[in-house]
Subunit: 450 residues, 2 copies
């Protein structure tokens, strides 16, 4: 970098650090050194000996909470194009009459790129530093991620058309292989993966084929699991099995499988997930808005299942703010179990940081502020009326703050937002681009529903 | 005012107006004239004939939604002092070990005044223009409301100590009378009222006595009703009655009674509320966070009961943002009823505006943007990444926006916030004041729980 050995890239001083390296670990007036994208040291009050206070950038975190960037374990970024296009509808009408036709008409590599840039802007502005996405034209999502400097798992999506008697297995396998090879080690921030939509939209052969490719690359395999009661009924009718048993018999259950939603599962199915090390992406706002149901997260956690938080796509949420998801997760399970002591604030913040990192198999690199880990760090401004007074930092993050309180964000040692100004994305240009696509969708939607 | 007859105080032009005067009534590029605190005209595109475009202040609402200010039907503003002091605890431990002792020690007329100013600042910053509060030292809440120019119902609170054999009836009555007379017509923005905490903390005699004073002044009578299962069990044990029957037998049910929570009610009790015209303040976030339960709001609405939204106090929420409450209300009832079509976005925005006005008996004055009504108007900035694209304004208000998107707020014709800057409250001074009280609470809390 041209700097003398001892000079830091970034030095963060002051504020209150939630390391997330150990439960409820809080360091007041921390001093955090960053070099070459990594966290070099985390100290209290003083620099470690041998380091000079010189740095390319010194960030004063006074009045802020400093914590690991949030991890969104389940997104469909390009669906930001359909944000608020159709709400308050029965699930099947929403999907079949609005979302699927809009996707068929408006989703292509260009619209996916523009939409993903806006989604990434929204995520950075609300404190997310790592996302796990699955959609079509996922290479465009990958390009948008690289262009904006966010860390991401990008998963190419696979479905079988319900009408197809024989899924295009060799085509699926070739497309999956191509995607994995194309994005393998292209950027230190990017991890390619594969997603089969679900076992009711994908045939057993397709599920096996895509999982085989993922295994060959030691990559994540994503799937939607037991999101609705209708899905469970359909699988029982078609295969005579419960959802997790169906996946088990196809040999899809292992530590590299991330299952989203997991709402309508019985005891033995939760046990199977725990035994096999399957990870769960929990999306409370989407599950509520679609009336899908409530995942038994407190029970999953008791069984030792790793659970992360996700926003799902913007058509069913309708934003990408993980702060809202934290608050929702904490409150939903309290009322659903009639127990205000479940899903404590500290635990929920862990799910949104280190827990999410574990779900994505990245806990060795991100999720806590510890020496040697990647420098994915956010500053949350506590100097706000709705965050005053401040007794317990974790409480405020979950119950009072919103994404708009995030001030500064660092990903892999790069400052991507400083004092709420995005540094890697031209926000006005991207918003204009999405508005143009939205205008086309809007006039199509009016004419098709007229 | 010294202006010629035709000159307006405020002229709002542009943007998209949600009048709330009729369901889903939307006017693009509205022109709204305001004089002497009232809405003079609401037109589309052009001024009405005879009016000049001159105004003391012209507000350009381009890119904004213009809608009636939000109505918070249930608050305990001074409890902002206990925001995040104790969370994730069983209800009775939370109340008895934390909130009640903290109230006894730290609640006085000075702390209530300072705390209320901060709460009002937070409400204005998140789009609320009318609140309905109940607490002790309520005259200090009234003073803070007048000082800051917000519209409010301020209700002096009454409880009986559980140990008292005979409640202090004449004392209660005198205090209630004094409060009503003191604040009667003191300010056009202020409406005094009375609140009995609940029928398990107040004796039948106290309930009757306070309601009598309220009736004498044609004022609102507030009460918490059926918030927890424990409350219902206690009333059954003590009086052999269900909660609403107990109130019925005490002659407390009429159109001027506002009952908060109303969670554990049976069919016949909901019917009684509907028949008697009792209004309901629904507080979904508080009910969820305390694990209290889910009020049957869709059923209440079918029965014709007027339901408004409330945040409850900041110790059980933990913020005063009605946008969060709108989103929660829409999503909670969808998942609780397994029906994504209930609590549609338009209905929820109505509950937060005109519906709330009806609950407070103020629908002739506020709740919609109509000629002759008070000029309580907010502008919500849609030019944000998380609000792009924009298909349906109501959807964005409920599912994507947050209080931080409110740009400008007018109450009774006075601009109280312009471009997110508060004009009637010295925010830094008030935050400092609350931080000082918070520091004292913090050290007391540490020593008392050590």
């Amino acid at each position: 970098m041209g700097w003398p050995d001892q000079k830091l890239d970034i030095l963060i001083t002051g504020g209150t650090l939630l390391t997330m390296a150990a439960p409820a670990d809080i360091i007041e007036e921390p001093v955090i050194g960053i070099r070459d994208g990594k966290i070099l040291f985390v100290e209290s009050n003083d620099l470690p000996s041998g380091y000079s206070p010189e740095a390319h950038e010194v960030i004063d975190a006074s009045g802020c909470l400093v914590l690991p960037g949030l991890v969104n374990t389940h997104t469909h970024l390009p669906m930001i194009l359909f944000r608020g296009l159709a709400d308050d509808l029965p699930l099947m009408i929403w999907l079949n009459d609005h979302i699927f036709p809009a996707e068929e008409r408006f989703i292509n590599r260009d619209t996916v790129y523009t939409a993903s840039l806006l989604a990434i802007a929204e995520m950075i502005l609300s404190g997310t530093t790592t996302f796990c996405d699955g959609y079509f034209f996922e290479s465009s999502v990958a390009r948008a991620a690289i262009a904006s400097g966010i860390r991401g798992v990008v998963s190419q999506g696979f479905i079988d058309f319900p009408s197809a008697n024989k899924p295009d297995l060799s085509g699926h396998t070739a497309a999956a292989e191509n995607f994995m090879q194309k994005w393998h080690k292209r950027s230190p921030l990017l991890t390619p993966a594969l997603i089969c939509h679900s076992s009711y939209i994908c045939s057993p052969d397709t599920l096996r084929a895509i999982k085989a490719v993922a295994r060959g690359h030691e990559s994540l395999f994503l799937i939607h699991l037991a999101e609705t009661r209708e899905e469970v009924a359909l699988l029982r009718e078609r295969y005579g099995k419960k959802p997790v048993h169906h996946l088990l018999d196809l040999d899809l259950l292992d530590k590299a499988t991330v299952a989203a939603h997991c709402i309508w599962l019985e005891e033995d199915e939760l046990d199977l997930l725990a035994q096999s090390g399957v990870k769960v992406a929990h999306n409370p706002e989407s599950n509520m808005k679609l009336g899908a149901g409530v995942a038994r997260v407190p029970e999953m956690l008791r069984l030792g299942i790793e659970v992360g938080l996700g926003t799902d796509g913007c058509a069913s949420n309708n934003n990408l703010d993980l702060f809202g998801e934290m608050g929702m997760c904490a409150k939903l399970h309290k009322v659903f179990s009639s127990d205000p002591t479940v899903m404590k604030a500290e635990k929920v913040v862990e799910m949104a940081t280190l827990g999410g990192a574990r779900v994505l198999g990245m806990a060795d690199r991100i999720g806590s502020i510890s020496p040697g880990k990647c420098a994915d760090i956010i500053l949350v401004n506590m100097n706000k009326p709705h965050l005053t007074p401040l007794y317990h930092p974790f409480s405020h993050l979950v119950y009072a703050a919103s994404g708009a309180d995030v001030l500064t964000s660092i990903i892999g040692g790069q400052v991507v937002m400083r004092n709420r100004r995005l540094l890697t994305i031209d926000l006005n240009e991207v918003m204009d681009g999405v508005r143009k696509i939205g205008a086309a969708i809007s006039s199509w939607n009016r004419s098709s529903t007229a």
